[in-house]
């Protein structure tokens, strides 16, 4: 047993120190499933004060830590590779002090995203950040990755809903950032620096989140398209006709995976190459008329070949399964995930170029495309062929990366739209950020974490 363990168990209590093999494996990795976890042990603190004491000890003894949320991350951010101490925030899962005037609510970092969504509904309000892993991911993890998801088009990213943060620094100091204010023009907004910092600048222990009104009668359309060349036209067209909540797409291959994996019916009689799932607010007859007219026009313009519309909330949820079920239906391959973004207007061109490259150079690989196309965010998933070993597969994908990212660079795109950099993307940061930018980022890291104990080895090479 590691020698310094007693220092920590004195803080959190012995029952909240985990050392057995299963726990180490489970708490030592995220959803990327590409690395072999090797943490020293797991700590499960229950309060900000405990986290603060943990960091003070870690700082004194130069012990590296990995903050851990719901471990649904896809970039290896929460992976402990080198004997780090994992700090799981899962016990800090209380929602408290709802303020109906400010429409804010205080969450422990370990509150599950869905828990906050459900809490909001109980207050007749809405927490709009949502994605397929919301049943497991934590608010703390969402903040550390600035999670996006399926409603970004209308509601923005996690960043837009954080009005206050409690942060424990590398030395164990406790900071209260922005304290719930709407307006606060007092210099650098450290809160926003922390959001998306992937556990490299401090540990988030609590957050004040804002809530909003519930969308009115959200209705889902599923559209069948022959090609993506007109998808930007479609987006503009529907955006002008209705109040869009989401505009997502997936390829025929992606749909096939969901149909095999889940017990759901085929949405259309005839297959198409691509599908767009669109959700909009349909508040009254006029909104619905306008939506139907927009569909008719789009069909006349031959931008789509078919479409379905939900007639009930149940059907809206059933239609979402085709989109939200994709990740899960391919996770066993495992897929090599690329979460990339270009400007929404360039999505069609970009996708064509990358698809062409992969098909040409890796004819044996199966590509699954889906993503938040309304935000210019594409998920390219390359599936591991059954006869190829995992290491070989990883190597071949790594070889493909520079070419894909060079295409991406020519579009001024991002190598990580919303999953973060973590371990998976750190070698490629320079495709999206200039050398000077990276130098500045590193000096920020040193300021916050002078002895490099906060999630070391992530984000930068």
């Amino acid at each position: 047993m590691p020698s310094n363990i007693a220092l920590f168990s004195a803080i959190v209590g012995e029952q909240h120190v985990l050392t057995n093999k299963d726990d180490l494996e489970n708490y030592g990795q995220d959803w990327s499933r590409l690395y072999t976890p090797a943490p020293s042990f797991i700590l499960r603190p229950g309060t900000t004060a405990e986290v603060s004491k943990i960091m003070a000890v870690a700082y004194e003894h130069e012990i590296a830590v990995v903050p851990s949320g719901g471990r649904t991350g896809l970039s290896g951010g929460a992976v402990a590779l080198n004997g780090e101490v994992v700090i799981s925030l899962e016990r800090m899962n209380q929602i408290s002090s709802f303020n109906s005037v400010d429409r804010t609510v205080t969450c422990g970092a370990g509150v599950i995203t869905q828990q906050l969504q459900e809490y909001a509904l109980e207050q007749n309000l809405y927490y709009p950040v949502d994605f397929a892993s919301a049943g497991s991911s934590h608010i703390g993890g969402n903040i550390a990755t600035n999670a996006g998801g399926i409603k970004v088009l209308k509601y923005g990213l996690t960043r837009d809903w954080v009005v206050g943060l409690t942060l424990v620094t590398a030395k164990g100091e406790i900071l209260k950032l922005n304290k719930g204010l709407v307006k606060n023009a007092t210099g650098y907004d450290l809160r926003h620096l922390i959001i998306g910092s992937e556990g490299t600048l401090g540990i988030v222990t609590e957050a004040e989140m804002t809530l909003t009104d519930q969308p009115k009668n959200p209705t889902v359309m599923l559209l069948a398209l022959e090609s993506l060349s007109d998808v930007s036209n479609l987006l503009v067209h529907f955006q002008s006709a209705m109040d869009l909540l989401a505009f997502e797409f997936f390829s025929h291959q992606a749909l096939q995976k969901v149909l095999t994996h889940r017990d759901v019916k085929k949405p259309f009689e005839h297959d198409a190459n691509f599908y767009v799932l669109m959700e909009f607010e349909s508040d009254g007859d006029e909104a619905m008329e306008s939506a139907l007219a927009a569909f008719e026009q789009a069909a006349e313009n031959e931008w789509l070949v078919d479409g379905l519309i939900s007639q009930s909330q149940q059907q809206a949820e059933e239609l979402w399964v085709y989109r939200e079920g994709i990740s899960e239906s391919i996770s066993h391959y495992p897929p090599y995930k690329n979460d990339i973004a270009v400007k929404p207007s360039q999505v069609g061109d970009f996708l064509q170029q990358v698809d062409h490259f992969v098909n040409e150079n890796y004819p044996d690989f199966e590509n699954i495309w889906f993503g938040h196309i309304g935000d210019g965010n594409l998920h390219l998933n390359i599936l591991k062929p059954e006869n190829l070993g995992l290491e070989d597969f990883k190597q071949q994908c790594a070889k493909a990366n520079p070419s894909i990212f060079t295409i991406l660079q020519s579009f001024d795109g991002s190598i990580s739209a919303e999953h973060g950099v973590g371990l998976v993307k750190k070698d490629y940061l320079s495709f999206s950020r200039s050398d000077i930018e990276i130098q500045l980022m590193k000096s920020i890291k040193r300021t916050f974490d002078p002895i490099n104990i906060l999630n070391p080895g992530k984000l930068f090479k």
């Binding site: 479409g307 009930s312 909330q313 149940q314």
Partner: protein, 249 residues
């Protein structure tokens, strides 16, 4: 062969219903309304018969306020040929529903009427049976499988002990259970086409039916809230709780 299908507009299955403050009923203002799920299954079954060439016409009927036209349009988009709305803002109870449908059935003379086994708002499970009695037609309720051939309907029913298969002489009433089929989604091109399909609106007076409610609602109250669960630390604690608190072992 002509099939008649009934559809009801109800509070959406996924909406968490709230009781009105004065306990007179449930809150329906700004609440999502949809087709009763069992009626969706009835519509799906009828259009499958049409697609198979067994039926030549599907007539869909709804009773309720003007907004029921939306529900009927959905059924038309799914594949029904013609719709009839009995427009009323009164509360219509199962017996009145059955009497109104009887009048329409007498006019339309369908070979079979397919209905949901119950609507998820009142959960009465009465209209189909009452209609069968009024028309003096045979009935196959809780259907999980239906076939029609040679003037007979063969209906597999979900009964307590398992499945029961019965043969009915047509005309007959069939009410649908959950496992009968999986309804399709409404296609947008068909929604457009459905706008041009005929939808007739009648009143309860047109049909000469007295719809005065027979049952009076005294009070509506929400079910008692369940206590939140607790996590136990050990098997011993669980056994102890089951023995001494829940007193089930």
């Amino acid at each position: 062969m002509k099939l008649m299908v009934t559809v009801k507009r109800v509070v959406d299955y996924n909406v968490k219903v709230r009781v009105k403050d004065d306990q007179s009923g449930i809150e329906t203002a700004n609440v999502k309304m949809s087709m009763n799920p069992f009626c969706e299954i009835a519509v799906e079954e009828a259009i499958r018969f049409k697609e198979k060439g067994v039926a030549t016409e599907v007539v869909v009927v709804s009773i309720g306020p003007a907004q029921c036209q939306e529900t009927l349009r959905t059924a038309l988009a799914l594949g029904a040929d013609r719709a009839i709305l009995v427009k009323t803002d009164e509360e219509i109870q199962p017996l009145a529903v059955a009497k109104l449908l009887q009048k329409i059935a007498e006019k339309e003379s369908p070979n079979a009427i397919i209905m949901g086994k119950q609507s998820i708002d009142g959960d009465n499970n009465q209209s189909g049976q009452m209609l069968a009695a009024l028309l003096d037609w045979p009935q196959g309720t809780f259907a999980s499988e239906v076939s029609i051939a040679d003037g007979k309907a063969t209906v597999t029913r979900e009964v307590d002990g398992g499945l029961e298969t019965i043969a009915l002489d047509l005309p007959a009433i069939v009410t649908t259970d959950l496992r009968l089929n999986e309804p399709r989604f409404a296609s947008l091109p068909n929604i457009m086409k459905a706008k041009r399909k005929p939808l007739d609106v009648l009143s309860t007076e047109d049909l000469g039916v007295d719809v005065t409610p027979r049952v009076k609602t005294l009070k509506v109250a929400p079910p008692a809230t369940r206590q939140a669960g607790v996590k136990v630390e050990s098997v011993q604690e669980l056994v102890d709780k089951l023995k001494n608190e829940a007193k089930v072992i």
